[in-house]
Subunit: 418 residues, 2 copies
């Protein structure tokens, strides 16, 4: 074995393919005879010295990881603050890294994780500890800077477009005597990438989704209701896709408007789709149904995009290669070199250019009326949902997802009092 | 061509595989040189003499119909009452049938449709009109009597079990610092068949879903919250599957309790999952997410069960065979002849035994504590979700679902004044 340990951790909301990156990381490291530990529950595991020995997992389990959704080692929502404010935590990390001879730290996550990886690399440098930090990109939100797209997004996008197309066929069949309006709530608090992906379900404005509501456009209720009425008059029914992050012109989230009191006086949980559905029902008197897929959209490995899956693995593999070459404080990003045929390659981008930046949706992706996507958006989005990458299924009709053994490494330090 | 016309119509909520039955009906009829018309929007199209000439559809389109969800000819929620009350409508139907030389009427739906087909057959007999009426089974609710299962249910069941398994992996990965409880709302107003199918996602009580709430058991909020607390204490997180039809001991639907007023005073649309999620959040102070898949669960052709798909086609084919043999007022039903290996065959059952009956879930399928399914339930359910039957996908990453031309037949009668 090569001297030194590679530490891998997962961070933030998990996706259908983050484990594909993990699988590629471990596979590549094994090929290069590098020992891989994984932190349990992301950076928390590193702070707690709760580390998993991945060498206890069989080659078959690591292969199966590539088709298993969720985060196999546990993830976390835990943001480290600045080096000054959280100095004790950063120093504890370094202490743990030293204790386990961690020379390479791979943090698989979004903006915050890139920021954490960057700060850890800065601290190591300040302490003269030889450490190479790599960010591995992951997020269904597609809001990471520099990279053309983020592993995780393409599969959630495919789930969204396919689900909207299927639900639309249902609504179209029933509209004469039943549901006329169907509202689909897509993830995306700040940017409407997944809502935009729904636009791939239809090729022309009369095909579903006839209305997409983006957080990039102020929600104007009167205009929205008038548009629904217009679509139903013309098409006979209407599918609305709403981003969870849509806001009124004054910046209030529509989702928050939905939360009131139930008939027992309990606080209701908000939701954009249920709110919009209620408005359509009350104001237009139309029968309406709505869906909130929630976590289903980011964990639907059964409907992963092959492009996305390949990129998740390529990012994991490149992360190990960059790490072993000592390319410190970088992230493997996807560079698109051609739309038709779709071609891409992996490059190393400085974490400083990724951390704390947010990729917005270009204005040119939104149709002038704000209710749909443009040809430019299709050109960008379509390759990302291309191809199928089915998991294997068992005789029981269910996907064969793997559960790792996750054997803990013996602790060498005193308990963390964080 | 054989003299006479076969009329096919779709009724009630559509499914992922009702078009597979339609495809099999048309394919079998074509092989036997029988002309097939389809009523647009179910029985309404028959009443309106709005009939579709299926001979205008290519063989490729009819093949593609077998992997297309929704209802290709349009469906309806329209219940004909008794022969006495709705005599004018039944007589109109007979008039339309005579005008188009309809000798065989195939109605693809649930209980109500079986009832309609039965009544039409009775009327034809009373009028001495030579007509053979066949019910073709369809419903995601699995509540049809006599048949072992209903085409449509197996695919919705597979969607449910797979989605719950995937979401559980997400929750398990995030529970340490984020969502601890996830609530999944399954269709089923009167019987918990789909909620029970979710139980296939886990093999032991600590695997998700740890709690299933069935309409067959009174909802006891204190007991439910205590159970959630217990599961989270033991497992670290909890996935709850709730049937939309769960009721309090006094018979009130929990879904109705959820409907209150939002912060603007608008009526909120109810929902079991959002209600339960709110209770967990407020009473246990745990972070909670929920999903309402709604129509996605019954239109998810991308995740169809192969067993279900084959049965839907077998039912369609048998319906034509029974019709041409003059087996009047029957429905092709599925008879299970063996669990291991799973074997089944199609038989003809009298519509009178199906119409207005409802298949309940056997008590032996529910675990004693009411929160899970038994081995007997697994033995029954598991073969129904077995096998995958993927639709073909295009270069655009989306399933190639077909839209039929649905060319109308020239009307021969005066407009219906219904």
């Amino acid at each position: 074995m090569v001297a030194g340990t590679l530490l891998y951790a997962q961070s933030g909301g998990v996706t259908a393919v983050i484990n594909a990156s993990a699988s590629a990381v471990i596979t590549e490291a094994r090929a290069r005879k590098v020992k891989v530990l994984a932190a349990r529950n992301g950076i928390l595991g590193a702070l707690r010295e709760d580390l998993i020995d991945t060498s206890k997992e069989s080659a078959a389990a690591i292969r199966a990881l590539a088709h298993t959704p969720g985060g196999a080692f546990g993830s976390c929502r835990y943001k480290l603050k600045s080096l000054e404010v959280d100095s004790a935590k950063y120093e504890r990390l370094l202490e743990v890294f030293k204790a386990h001879d961690v020379r390479w730290f791979l943090y698989n996550g979004g903006n915050d994780s890139a920021d954490t990886a960057l700060k850890v690399s800065q601290l190591a440098k300040a302490y003269d500890y030889p450490l190479t930090c790599i960010g591995v990109p992951k997020t269904v939100d597609n809001d990471l800077a520099v990279t053309d797209t983020c592993p995780g997004f393409g599969s959630a996008a495919k789930y969204t477009a396919v689900s909207v197309r299927e639900a639309a066929l249902d609504v179209a069949a029933m509209a004469e005597t039943s549901t006329k309006v169907f509202v689909y709530e897509a993830m995306g608090r700040h940017a409407g990438w997944l809502a935009a992906a729904a636009g791939l379900a239809g090729k022309n404005p009369d095909e579903a989704p006839q209305i997409i509501l983006f957080p990039e456009r102020a929600y104007d209720e009167a205009a929205f209701l008038a548009q629904v009425k217009k679509v139903v008059a013309k098409v006979g029914w209407c599918v609305v896709v709403a981003s969870e992050g849509i806001q009124y012109a004054d910046g209030r989230f529509v989702a928050d408007a939905g939360g009131g009191k139930d008939s027992f006086g309990h606080t209701q949980l908000g939701g954009v789709a249920s709110y919009l559905a209620g408005r359509v029902k009350n104001e237009l008197g139309m029968k309406v149904h709505w869906t909130l897929p929630d976590y289903l959209q980011r964990s639907a490995r059964h409907l992963a995009s092959k492009s996305d899956w390949e990129q998740a693995q390529a990012a994991g593999k490149a992360a190990v290669q960059f790490a072993l070459k000592g390319q410190n404080a970088v992230m493997p990003v996807i560079v698109r070199t051609s739309n038709a045929p779709y071609k891409w390659r992996i490059e190393a981008a400085p974490l400083s250019k990724v951390a704390n930046h947010e990729k917005k949706m270009p204005n040119s992706f939104l149709r002038k009326d704000g209710y749909g996507i443009t040809a430019a958006a299709r050109t960008y989005l379509e390759p990302l949902i291309r191809g199928e990458a089915y998991p294997p299924y068992g005789r029981d009709g269910l996907p064969n997802y793997v559960t790792l053994k996750n054997v803990a490494v013996k602790k060498k330090l005193a308990d963390w009092e964080g």
